[in-house]
Structures are given as C-alpha cells and as structure tokens.
C-alpha cells in the first residue's frame, strides 16, 4: 500500500474550472415567478393597479424608491425580467435515454456545422435548378442584387445567433460559402435564406434637407440658420432684396464687433457667393467669447444662405469649409499637469 500525500491546495475546489455559472431551467422559472410577485408588490407599494404595471412604471418606481447617484446606468439598482438579465444558455442537449437531440452533436459545434450543412444544401439545390434551366434552354435570371446597401452579419452577431463560440477561420469559411451561393445566377430561390444573414447598412450620406425659402408679410423671401462654435450658439435670419446691413442682438455689427477680424468672418459667406450687398441679416448670439460668437454667426449665415443658392454652389460652400461645424473645444486640464498639455517645470534634482 502506497500512501499518497496530497496537500490541502489539491483538495480545494477550483472555482473557475467549471466555466461561467450554468443556470438550470428550474432556477430561471423560479426567478420569473419571483419577478412577477415582486412586480405586484411594487405596484401595491406605489398605489397603482398591479394588472397594468408596465416595465417603464417599474423603472420609475425603482428610481424613486432607490435613488442612486452612480454615474454608470448599469450599476444602478434595476428590476428587469429574468430573460433580460440572465444570458441565454444552451439547455441540456440529450434526452432521458441519453441520445442527443441534434444529429451533429458529436462534432462539438453543432449549430455552426448544421448551418454549414444547410447552406451547402441550398447551394446544391441552386446548382440543380441551374442545370434544369440549362437543359430546358431557358435563360438564367440575371437580376443583379444590390450588394452596396447590405453587409453580412459580424462574427459576434453570428455567435449570438448560434449561441456558440466561433473561431475566425470558421466565420470566414461561412462567409465564403455565402458569397459562393450569392455568386450563382440562380440564387433568387434562396433569397429568403440569404436575407437571414445580411443586414442593411444605413446609407452613410444622409441627405441634408435644405429648407425652402419662407416669405415675410411684406413678401420678402428669408431663411434661417443655426450655428455653434465653442460655447457660443447663434441664429441668423437672412432676408432677400437687402442692402447688406447686419444686426447682432439688436446692435449693428460695427458696434458689436469692433475688431476687423470678427467682421471679416461674418462677411466671408457672402463674399464667397458674391452676394455682399444683396442680403439683410438679423442675428442673435449668446455664450462664448468674441471670436466664438463670430464663428457661430458665420456658420448660421452660411446655413441660411443654402436656401438661396444652387446645389453646385452649396457643394462649393461645403468644400470651402463654410458648412462644417468646427469641433475644436477647450481641452480639459489633466491632473499632474499644469494645463491641458503644459507640464510642471521639470527639475533635474
């Protein structure tokens, strides 16, 4: 008999070895019952009808009963349905007699491989259909699908769909198979199947709507625009058939902006479009400093002028930088430094 010495470290249970906690169905069911009961208690507490107590009411009630000043919304107390809190997990894959449910269970990645199997089947059926059409001398359908507006699912989205971890290799293989399927001329039959794995990309160039000209009581056409720069925000109303007068907060620009540089900024949009003496402008501005207010009004005027001008000239204005919002704001001061970038004086000793 050989006495095997084991230390307490070996006997201790390795907590992390079994992976993330697995929630049984019974546990989730109990959680759902507790949630429903708790919902009714909460409704009673708040004095509302338990039958018509929605999730928004719950959120409001919890925010009222347990006020929290924490920054992260996820860290605050919340009461949600258990299906939203506990991540979806795979239930046990085999029945009472031990036989697994899925025919590809023994591969390890059953959902992924069954997906590949299905996709390959669609490919084969498309090829068969194509052969039939060729045999009957019928023309193959050539409606070109719009590939520009759609993208395939990302690896993470696919993992969520299959509830299984994928490797990069697996994902790329699947995408290659889908592309092969799409490339076939007779893939119209499989449109529905392919749509499950493609998503629409929102068109990036959102067409900025240029507002049409509005008309005054006197019949004069005018247009409004808004602009921001640093902390200043401005609104400008540009009137047609004017003499080039500009008013800011009730004052003339000569009084409001004594510095030439600011007035040049205001006149730039008009100068660019050769409409210096043709428009009257009334502006309101608040916040910021001298230069920021000038920049804000410049942007507001340029936006207002878009309605008076052709599309080509709008494009010219955009390329000149008149229509872009200046993103530069004051950078925050960091601890351990004197300013945003300036460091404390470095002393050798």
């Amino acid at each position: 008999l050989r006495l095997i010495h084991t230390s307490t470290a070996v006997q201790r249970k390795n907590v992390g070895a079994s992976g993330p906690e697995k929630y049984t169905e019974a546990f989730i069911k109990k959680q759902i019952e507790e949630f429903n009961l708790g919902k009714r208690h909460l409704a009673n507490m708040m004095g509302e009808d338990p039958e018509t107590f929605t999730q928004e009411d719950i959120d409001r009630a919890i925010a009222y009963l347990f006020p929290s000043g924490l920054f992260d919304k996820q860290a605050r107390p919340m009461m949600k349905h258990p299906t939203e809190i506990f991540p979806e997990q795979r239930k046990i894959q085999w029945g009472e007699d031990g036989r697994p449910f899925h025919f590809l269970f023994y591969t390890g990645k059953q959902s992924y491989y069954s997906l590949m199997h299905e996709t390959y089947e669609k490919l084969l059926s498309a090829q068969k259909y194509q052969d039939q059409l060729i045999a009957q001398d019928l023309p193959l359908q050539k409606e070109k699908r719009n590939l520009a507006g759609s993208r395939w699912l990302t690896k993470i989205e696919l993992e969520e769909m299959l509830l299984e971890k994928l490797s990069d290799n697996d994902y790329s293989r699947f995408i290659q198979l889908l592309q092969k399927l799409v490339a076939l001329p007779c893939s119209d039959i499989e449109e529905k199947y392919i749509q499950k794995f493609s998503k629409e990309v929102p068109v990036q160039m959102q067409k900025v709507l240029i507002e049409p000209l509005q008309h005054d009581e006197r019949g004069v056409a005018f247009s409004t625009g808004e602009g921001r720069r640093k902390t200043a925000s401005a609104t400008a109303i540009v009137y047609d058939n004017g003499t080039g007068k500009m008013t800011v907060n009730g004052k003339d620009i000569l009084h409001y902006f004594p510095v030439l540089q600011d007035r040049e900024q205001l006149l730039f949009p008009f100068q660019f479009l050769d409409r210096i003496g043709k428009h009257d402008t009334v502006c309101t501005v608040s916040g910021g400093g001298r230069s920021a207010q000038a920049g804000a009004i410049r942007l507001a005027c340029a936006k207002a002028l878009r309605s008076f001008v052709t599309e080509k000239e709008v494009e010219f204005m955009r390329q000149a930088g008149l229509l872009t919002v200046d993103p530069r704001v004051k950078e925050r001061k960091k601890p351990g430094q004197e300013g945003a970038r300036r460091k404390f004086t470095w002393k050798k000793r």
Binding site: I92, Q93, W94, G98, F103, Y106, T107, G108, Y113, H117
Partner: protein
C-alpha cells in the same frame, strides 16, 4: 423485454441483410477498385484479389462476407437502440454522409476531429454524456492520408467500429473492416444506401416487436 433482446442473437442473419446487395451491385459501383501498387498497405494484402496495370483489385467475395457481417452487426446495434456515429473525412462526401445520418436518425461527424471528443467527453460536452455505441467509418483516413484518430480513440473507449478500408488503410484496429473502394462517388452512395436501409429496417423491426410484446 429480455426475450426481445436475446431472440435476435440466436439467428446468424436475423435482419436478412444478404438480400440488400449482390456481387453485381458491388461491381457496378466500382467497389473493387483500389489504389496503385505503391500505396498498398501490408495488412491489406489478404483482401486483395490481384493487381492489374499497377492498380490493386479488391476481392469482392471477401468483401461480400465482411459487408454482411458488418451490416448484421449495425442492424443489431440499431435494434438495441444504440447510438451510431458516421465518420468520414472526405470533403466530397461530407454532405452525403451527414444527410444519410440525418435520414436514419443517427449521428455524423465529417468535420475536424477535436482531440478529446471521445476520451475527454465528460469535460467537453458535460457530465452525463452518452458516447456512441458504434462508429462507422465510411473512409478510414483523414485529409493527410493518416489513419483517423477516432479509430484509436474508439479502441481505447471500448467502442466497436465498422469501417470501409481501402488498399492504403490499416484494417487492424477496426472490429468489422469492409475492404472496398472509398474514393468513387458511386461506391460511397452504395455504402450510404446500404447502411441507411439496414438501420431503418432494424428500427422498424424493433418497433414492431415492441408493439407485439405490448399486445400480449
């Protein structure tokens, strides 16, 4: 219930698998064609009929006997509700094998074999997994022309194996080898058809016998 299980074992061919195939069927499906003489495995020499223009020809009489034994064995396993796993690492026939398994109601594995699938099953799948009771190899080599790891693992886990062995394969560790061609599509379709028919036949027989028992 006991009688249900012991009765089939008293007959040499309870499920009559001999009628499923003839020598002509095997010949038409090109089962007798082996690889070239250079690829020949030493242990396959007893099963080879001869060599013509450097290509080995497999002895179909021996194939008939082995096939009958193998099909009989699979039928008995299916009759006793065992789990059958089809393995083939040939990319050409991956879809065919998976569809066959799905049609029978059994299982298939035609993908990359992860090391611990059989030997480390309780950790990979979870506690309480039931391992396959029979493994059928429709092609006994993997993509690098080496013997499939599952042959050795099944032998380690005491799981009986049935396998189609070509002239370049090692038939030693397989319990019921079937010397035959594993490269032609016609041969593979024939094997899939035969296995599918035997398993479905065995399962139907089981259902009938259980119904008869219940009626008594």
């Amino acid at each position: 219930d006991d009688k249900l299980l012991t009765e089939p074992l008293n007959h040499p061919d309870f499920f009559n698998v001999k009628e499923l195939f003839t020598l002509k069927d095997l010949f038409d499906a090109r089962v007798h064609l082996g690889h070239k003489k250079g690829c020949r495995h030493r242990f396959m020499e007893p099963y080879i009929f001869g060599c013509r223009l450097d290509q080995d020809i497999i002895d179909l009489d021996q194939t008939m006997q082995h096939l009958q034994l193998a099909l009989n064995f699979t039928a008995h396993i299916a009759y006793r509700k065992g789990i059958i796993l089809f393995i083939s690492r040939r990319r050409q026939f991956c879809h065919l094998v998976e569809s066959t398994a799905r049609d029978c109601g059994e299982y298939a594995h035609t993908r990359f074999w992860q090391g611990g699938l059989l030997t480390n099953a309780h950790i990979q799948f979870g506690a309480g997994v039931r391992l396959p009771d029979l493994i059928v190899f429709l092609s006994s080599l993997n993509n690098v022309f080496q013997p499939h790891v599952a042959i050795r693992d099944a032998a380690k886990m005491n799981i009986p194996t049935v396998g189609v062995v070509d002239t370049n394969c090692n038939p030693t560790l397989i319990t019921y080898p079937i010397p035959g061609n594993d490269d032609s599509p016609s041969a593979m379709e024939l094997y899939c058809k035969l296995f599918r028919m035997t398993i479905i036949r065995a399962k139907d027989k089981r259902r009938q016998d259980e119904a008869v028992e219940e009626m008594r």
